[in-house]
Amino acid sequence: MLRDKKPFHFIKLRKIWYVISILVIVPGIISLFSQGLNLGIDFRGGSLLDLRFNQPTEVEQVRGVLADFGLEGASIQRSGETDFLIRTRELTEDENLTIVQNLDQKLGGVTVQRNERVGPVIGQELLRKALLALGVASILMVVYIAWRFEFKQGIAAIIALLHDTLVILGIFSIFQIEVDSTFVAAVLTIIGYSINDTIVIFDRIRENMHNRKKGEVLEDIINNSLWQTLARSINTVLTVILVLVALFLLGGATIHNMVLALLIGVSSGAYSSIFNASPLWYDFKKVEERSKPRGARA
């Protein structure tokens, strides 16, 4: 084949890729254990008010009014001169009404743009469902890959997915970016997407194994397959990233965190599909081969 120059060997250098992955993941895991995730009201329960005042308003003024209700500890986020995002413990319908009325009177008029209230029970249910969804999706995918390819590839793919999930969770934990139900959608999409990448590569390996030349060793087959699919891997990620960057820069604030999670996940997914999934599978295969003769002797 033409253009067959390969600057490096993916499989021979696999320890380097593993180290890079671990270096990225470990700080995130430490952060997850020490400070956890910044769970939004979707999961924790609470109230959220997205307000637009009729005139420029300061955070202190808003906090002053909230203090009358014992809510001085509420998170008040200002965007622009007149827009505020207020997060508090769960407010009753009456409390909610009086607070908005008070803000309206004392600070010269206010429009409620968004008002959300989630009870702690619902939040718990959502969290449980989210974790269940992640688990079910992962199992179904392993089953599918095990059926279409082989079980060890399924396991390698799932470890790559775990990698991507940990990268997203880790970054969201380190920077304490708020996590809501759209975050779960993003993580699940990444799982589906990243496994896409892995499968295209596995498909190529499957085909190349089929047309295996005499004396060709597994690590070279995998290496060739990775190089053959590399342009595709990069181009696909590029097109998706183009859309996501546009959404991130121009899209509204509501889906900002979701798009951010997708951006991190797509990049991490591309990395893990190339640098983790196939090398891991290679290592699994090696373990299998080494244990076989030993088993025969015993």
Binding site: R3, N96, R114, I199, M258
Partner: protein, 411 residues
């Protein structure tokens, strides 16, 4: 140059162009369903509105029963209809939860308050004194009078109510008794004779259905159970419109970026893929309109993401096609081999994404479900356009001999 193939190509391009314009621009003002993007239902987070989850709570007086939840839903429906909301959604979830969604209302908070307040059913005499309340009414059912066959509503009072009702009817023969719901007169039947046993009939009604409606109102005059707001999400109309606007702008920018990238990298096949991508977007929007898919903000993100994924199939194919060209195959056999070999990879990879989307749909709520639906439709449609359409077009282009330079095919 082969003119028949060139002609086919021109016709296809023209058709897609016309459909594209009709899809988004109101060219023909008299046709209601054009542009068809208007038919796509907007979610609450786009058009503004309120989503509430109510839960029935046990109280010593009124424990939650399947019947009381059903009656509570009837009351809410009745009250929601009073706001004049178009297409409200009132659903039961599990044993004791009720989901209510109202789109495009001015004061969502007030609507929620009105929905869960305890309404008051009263019976008043002509002089305006309240004699009985909804608590003393045991039940109200519709039926047909066995003798006359006329539709009627049968009332039955609780024992303490029956006693009072006997006294009141005895004292008011020939006069009306007003039945008020939230201070509005619902019925004003005349008392024909004293009713001692607490069982009364109101008649005549035009039909059994009319009697049925009144019976429901009477039965569920007051909320039969205590309802608590478990979850409430309201979005003002300006915020929704603003978000939609931004998403569309972002979408157009993202789409243009993809189109440019594909042409720069893959040349002529890239141009064909771009054309297929536009067709893909049209097909998906048409499906959304036809299936009445509700478009939410995450749903729009899902759609845009599927654009990026839709070109993936073409990227896989074209990479394969290039390899075949480099291996020395002719243009046409390279096209066929590229598609054939890429298909398995595309199929397997899309199935896994579909699995993820199905799980999302099953476990997700509201906007997340919308995201899962748009993603799934996108994947299925992309399998069609990226494989069938690109292949056909590429063969047409190659067969028309319009462009012969192999370099233009990326080789």
């Amino acid at each position: 140059m082969k003119w028949d193939k060139l002609l086919k190509l021109i016709v296809i391009i023209a058709v897609v162009a016309v459909v594209a314009i009709l899809a988004v621009k109101p060219v023909i003002p008299d046709v209601k369903w054009l542009p068809f993007t208007k038919l796509i239902k907007q979610g609450l987070d786009i058009q503004g509105g309120v989503h509430v989850v109510l839960e029935a709570q046990d109280t010593p007086d009124s424990p939650v029963t399947p019947d009381s939840v059903k009656r509570a839903m009837a009351v809410i429906e009745n009250r929601v209809n009073a706001f004049g909301v178009a297409e409200p959604i009132i659903q039961q979830q599990g044993d004791r939860r009720i989901i209510v969604e109202l789109a495009g209302i001015k004061d969502p908070d007030e609507a929620v308050r009105n929905m869960i307040k305890t309404a008051y059913l009263e019976f008043k005499t002509e002089d305006g004194t309240t004699v009985l309340t909804g608590r003393q009414l045991k039940t109200a059912t519709e039926g047909k009078n066995p003798q006359s066959g006329v539709a009627e509503v049968n009332l039955e009072f609780e024992p303490d109510g029956a006693k009072i009702f006997a006294d009141v009817t005895a004292a008011n023969v020939g006069k009306p008794i007003y039945i008020l719901l939230d201070n509005q007169v619902l019925q004003a039947p005349n008392v024909k004779e004293p009713i001692p046993n607490g069982k009364a009939q109101i008649s005549p009604y035009e039909s059994l259905e009319a009697a049925h409606n009144v019976a429901i109102l009477l039965r569920s005059g007051a909320l039969p159970v205590k309802l608590d707001v478990m979850e409430k999400r309201t979005v003002g109309p300006t915020l929704g419109a603003d978000s939609l606007d931004k998403s569309i702008k972002a979408g157009i920018a993202g789409l243009i970026a993809i189109l440019v990238f594909m042409v720069l990298y893959y040349r002529l096949p890239g141009l064909v893929a771009d054309f297929a991508l536009i067709t893909y977007a049209l097909i998906v929007l048409l499906i959304f309109a036809a299936l009445h898919v509700t478009m939410t903000l995450p749903g729009i993100a899902g759609f845009l993401l599927s654009l990026g994924m839709a070109v993936d199939a073409n990227v896989i194919i074209f990479e394969r096609f290039r390899e075949e060209m480099w291996a020395g195959k002719t243009l046409r056999s390279a096209i066929d081999a590229g598609f054939k070999r890429a298909f398995v990879a595309i199929f397997d990879s899309n199935v896994t994404t579909l699995i993820a989307a199905a799980v999302l749909y099953y476990f997700g709520t509201g906007p997340i479900k919308g995201f899962a639906v748009t993603l799934s439709i996108g994947i299925l449609a992309s399998m069609f356009t990226a494989i069938t359409m690109t292949r056909y077009l590429l063969h047409l282009v190659a067969g028309s001999n319009l462009v012969r330079n192999a370099k233009m095919y990326g080789a």
